[in-house]
Symmetry: C2
């Protein structure tokens, strides 16, 4: 009889636990309502880039991963190993064939990926562009830096450093859209907001440190009053920095560079480069993942009704200077 009583008690105890457990579970379910920001690990979202190995993508991929972890979904990272548009198209074709839950693409060509991007969208795969857009494609959105605005920020920063006076130059890649926009934002702002400043020279540094170094030397020789240089990408920035160091011009010429690779950060620490425009690459990856998840789960559809999504989201920039440079080194 004692044994039977024990079994009864155990039985009742377990039953109570089971009911409690069941209720706890269903209350969580009820609170989430119609849509929940939690997927499942079978959902695979893919990030596609080019020159997959370069440091530049690391922060974007980290953002993509962080969002995937928060949303409980899986990711893959794919892309062209080289700066080769055909390779990127082939990789994208392979990714589409696997019917992933969504694709975030940074394109090396603003037009030539369009047919394959459109094919993905037509097959019902959510696609967003990040960092480099294909504006005429059917991708739902673009998340990246407003390069014109980044140029505007660079102009305000150099004006601040030069007390709104003096001659400045630009070293850029005049044939690439994002660099044209950075240069335009810089030029327009100097022209319209700083009457005592002037852009006296714009040169092609081809994104190459050696060539940019030479261009900076020519620019300095041709413009003896030059007080500042805006370099629209990081490799050139380091080259220009070398010119400044070699000629001991740290005090007379201020450099504003772009991005946050180690060479740039080191030169900011040493006072050779005054400031750099840091893109929100972690943001691009994080919010690309969130956008794809929202598209895949119909969350935008439910709330936007038929209204189109904004085609463009500026993920913003921050300005790196000697004061905050330490926080930009990988931790």
């Amino acid at each position: 009889m004692k044994k039977l009583l024990f079994i009864y008690l155990l039985l009742i105890g377990l039953f109570v636990l089971y009911i409690y457990n069941y209720q706890a579970k269903s209350s969580v379910k009820r609170a989430w309502n119609d849509y929940e920001l939690v997927g499942n690990m079978d959902e695979t979202y893919v990030m596609v880039t080019f020159m997959v190995g370069i440091d530049y993508w690391k922060r974007a991929l980290k953002g993509f991963e962080d969002a995937a972890e928060a949303l409980n979904v899986s990711i893959e990272y794919r892309g062209a190993t080289q700066y080769d548009v055909h390779e990127e198209i082939t990789v994208l074709e392979q990714v589409i064939a696997k019917n992933p839950a969504g694709i975030a693409i940074s394109t090396m060509d603003p037009e030539r990926l369009n047919p394959v991007i459109d094919k993905a969208v037509e097959a019902g795969i959510p696609v967003v562009m990040f960092d480099a857009d294909a504006p005429e494609s059917k991708a739902y959105s673009f998340l990246g830096t407003d390069n014109y605005k980044a140029g505007v920020e660079a102009a305000h920063k150099i004006a601040e450093l030069l007390n709104k006076k003096g001659e400045v130059g630009v070293i850029t890649l005049p044939h690439q859209l994002n660099h044209q926009e950075r240069t335009q934002g810089f030029q327009d702002t100097i022209f319209m907001e700083y009457p005592e400043m002037k852009v006296v020279s714009i040169k092609d540094g081809r994104g190459d440190p050696v060539l940019s170094k030479e261009m900076a030397e020519t620019m300095i020789t041709e413009n003896p009053n030059l007080a500042g240089i805006f370099v629209t990408e990081a490799n050139g920035g380091v080259g220009v920095g070398q010119t400044i160091m070699k000629n001991n011009l740290q005090d007379s010429i201020k450099i504003i560079s772009f991005d946050t690779d180690k060479g740039t950060l080191d030169m900011i620490k040493d006072g050779v480069i005054s400031a750099s425009i840091a893109q929100g690459t972690w943001e691009m990856g994080y919010w690309s993942m969130q956008f794809l998840f929202h598209l895949q789960h119909g969350i935008f559809e439910q709330n936007h009704k038929n209204e189109p999504l904004p085609r463009y989201v500026d993920t913003g920039v921050t300005i790196v200077t000697k004061e905050n440079v330490q926080s930009y080194y990988p931790q």
Copy 2:
């Protein structure tokens, strides 16, 4: 004996169910890892605006609500009933006193709310600005329309409608920052990208339909070749539309307006207004809530390390025309 056997079987059955249940629950927990995008209903996030009753805030509040629902947290909507900065400050003080999980603020004054915004941040309350920024405050981020860029879009649209030729005017609020930016983006783009177009007149419509109507009439009389008008806010747009209708100028003068209130949408449907710039207000609310949640739960902190958050996120615009106007009516 039979009874005992039955009890044993029931006991084993329940035990198996319990174990199964327990495992299912813990596997969900494991997948979420360190951070999860699910809060609890005790967390209250507050949206603070001014002129709380106007239609304009409805979509933003809907976005804020939708994100709160997805994240399983609570919201409150508070604000000044009038266009009164003292009232907005008082309301914000009351909100802070309740120590909410986060506050999204649209300010009617870019400076005068700063002390109380800073007080909230210093008390450890996450604060983001949306729609109208307080750039010098300690708020973590601003999510809103890049008004300069919205003006650029308006210029491109009017140029497209006029085949890149002709004289255009602007009716705006010359003393308000966001309207100055819209006008500047419009002017700069016409000046720099459309050599056969010219901005011949800029007038103050004070955001009033009657005054804007009069201003449009004067502008048309003074500029007999006028081919287009950009009105930087919705009330004025409707007033200008009335002038166009009264004088039967639908075919000779194109209007680009701003926002998507019913009057504007009706005039687009009737072909009086050619297009309107729609702000991503749902986006502002939705992503403000997400940002506050990420700040409250330390998700940015974990991933951004010491690196600052981008201070600015452009939530984008879309262009409303006769073709897509139907989707902008409240469903």
